[in-house]
Amino acid sequence: MPGFIKRAEYWIVSAVLTVGLSFPASANDTTADHVDISSVIETAIVPAFHGFESSASEMQDAMSALCAQPSPSALQSSRASFNTLVGSWGQVEFIRLGPLAAENRLERILFWPDRRGRGLKQVQNIIRTSDATATSVQMLGKKSVAVQGLLALEFALFGTGADSLSSSDNSFRCGYALAISENLKQLSSELVGLWSDQNRIRQLWLKPGPDNPLFRNNQEQLAALIKMIRDGLEIMVAQRLTPFLREDQASAKPMSALFWRSENTIRSLQANMIGLQNLVEASRFDRTLDNNNKRVVKSLGFESKNALRALAASDLPTQKIVEDADVFGRLIYVRIVVLGMFDILENRLPAMFGLTSGFSSLDGD
């Protein structure tokens, strides 16, 4: 391993290599002109993490104000800040290359899916027992990842008994929620820092080459980007839409939707789509493609707009969504659209750029 790369940095970037696309080191480097990683970092990734940090800071301020002077309006303000935070998180949560996937940051911010409700039980227990160690951000950071992130904060602000936050009767719950917001602010600042100019991840991702043990060529560089977007689309379907919508209205599970409690399910999906589309636009995939392939790339933008339009017309609590055939049908349509986009990222885009899929290199088999 070349001396200029520290071990930890090496492995930070190696997350991208969990990819089902593999290339020989000597592959003919045909993609150099197709990918604009610099644009992706500067115009999509860094601004998105700054946005998340800003929302987390606003959330922390709102919680401080609520705990200092509880009132219905202060609670309303905190809930509004949470909604904003969900929106900004949704735009960064799929940027799992590097810092977000490291040191359990992803799980500390969002422990999901939580199939057996383990996180909720722990959060409820903390509130029920007034566990004082949960009101210190230092101590909270050492607890289960499931009690220190967005879903814990959502329960504190919107779950059973949350209205008591508007009076001084429930200072413990407020203190716990404040500690969570401080934790989220810390994590968001870490992420901004780790994507800063000084961090090696940028240097390695931007400069593939024979001495770069992570990105030997532009194909690996590009594959990492395609995988990131592809995985985001897959997560939207497999972890967000399908567990909620299931097969039909009768089998739908409205309380299996992410952020159903705060009625942010649709907001979260909208943010996901916006975040992924920002990555696509910043990548300038179509720069040197022929017209036919350009149309395929452009169709990603067209389809994301369709999905966003359908989501905007479906912004209801999840229980109401499953009760309304038209709204439910719109979300089924969104799922189909996302699947279509996935297919482009999974099959068509790699083919355009000469990226071949390794049959045996898929994860964990």
Binding site: M1, A8, L17, T18, F23, R116, P213, E247, S360, S361
Partner: protein
């Protein structure tokens, strides 16, 4: 893309219910061949260029002796003790396995996992060949199980043991014929979320020695806490109650971690192989297959992500040979040498029109 389905598991099960019987009896082998106990053959699951999945038996020279289509992607293949029977397991989270009598004494048997279980793609026969064991996911309770199937009764499921961990993957019968070693990878998955890893922050992989007499746990070995995100996935038998194991690093943002080790019930030790940093870095956190040649005591490991295989002398921690081949993963020790295969169709120096799955199995010395 099959994850469109609400539950892939349900869909596959429905498929098998409707077509499984016809599949099992209708797809006869393309080419009959007589297999004597002394024949050295290898087997692997594959996908052909038309997208059809199957399993093939090959000679050491790369001649396909026999092949059969499968309803979806297969994974590991295990031979019975006489070498005349093989079972191919569906790739996780598959719900079927197919048992085939290579001498045509009876038709293929399609084995379905129970409705609340799925296979992990690996298994092994008992020493007398009467029982088949399979690693399974009790996904509602997030527990690993060893399913037990009666080979003499059309592979009827007759019971199960605990694996004493989450996410069991590879397994193998130790040379005493009684103890099974299971690699509990530590990763919780549920078919509702397909292959999503649900517990990365808390995963605790282990190696469990299980007494097949009663399913009791004889010994369990864990990695050091600092390595708790090394999912132990594959095994290669290495002598009496001992095996080499290979890992996948789920914390790829950490420092370099050892990916290969050895565990022994006799010595009571779990030891990690200290490979040079450059070699470890080149594996990109994943060893896809491992094999051990018990005569030379050398091991072979593969990393399909990079397309590299190393033959290692563990006594000196030295790399004896490195083979670069795109998507290389399958490896088996046979007749004092290592046979290798790749997703690109490479098989021991031959290029073939099939995409080989991750594992290559010998009827003489199979992994673990």
């Amino acid at each position: 893309m099959d994850w469109l389905a609400t539950s892939q598991l349900v869909d596959r099960r429905s498929f098998m219910k409707s077509t499984g019987a016809a599949f099992a009896t209708g797809l006869l082998p393309r080419q009959a061949f007589a297999l004597s106990a002394s024949d050295a053959v290898l087997a692997s699951a594959y996908r052909d260029r038309n997208g059809t999945f199957g399993v093939a038996v090959l000679s050491e020279q790369g001649e396909i002796l026999w092949q059969q289509a499968l309803p979806s992607r297969g994974h590991d293949v295990v031979f019975g003790p006489t070498g005349e029977t093989l079972v191919v397991f569906a790739r996780r989270p598959g719900t079927f396995a197919v048992a085939i009598d290579l001498g045509h004494k009876q038709n293929s048997s399609t084995i379905l996992s129970p409705s609340d279980r799925h296979f992990y793609g690996h298994g092994c026969f008992s020493a007398d060949g009467k029982l088949l064991y399979a690693t399974e996911n009790d996904f509602e309770n997030a527990k690993g199980k060893l399913g037990i199937y009666d080979a003499s009764d059309n592979y009827r499921r007759i019971g199960e043991f605990e694996t004493f961990g989450i996410g069991p993957h590879d397994m193998g019968l130790m040379s005493d014929g009684r103890i099974i070693l299971v690699a509990n990878g530590g990763i919780e998955t549920h078919p509702d979320f397909l292959r999503t890893k649900l517990n990365l922050s808390t995963m605790r992989p282990n190696l469990s020695f299980i007494d097949t007499k009663d399913g009791s746990l004889l010994a369990q070995f864990e990695l050091p806490k600092t390595h708790h995100k090394l999912s132990i996935r594959h095994l290669a038998k290495a002598g009496e109650a001992s095996a080499w194991f290979a890992c996948q690093n789920q914390d790829e943002l950490s420092d370099l971690k050892p990916l290969v080790g050895r565990v022994s019930l006799v010595s009571g030790k779990l030891e990690l192989l200290e490979l040079p940093d450059a070699v470890l870095a080149g594996l990109r956190g994943y060893v896809g297959s491992i094999a051990c040649d018990n005569e030379s005591a050398q091991i072979a490991i593969t990393s399909p992500r990079v397309g590299i295989a190393h033959i290692i002398d563990p006594s000196t921690n030295t790399i004896k040979e490195t083979i670069s081949q795109k998507d290389i993963c399958g490896v088996a020790a046979q007749n004092n040498r290592f046979m290798l295969s790749s997703g690109g169709g490479f098989f021991d120096g031959h290029q073939m029109p099939l995409h080989w799955d991750n594992h290559l199995t010998s009827n003489i010395t199979s992994s673990a």
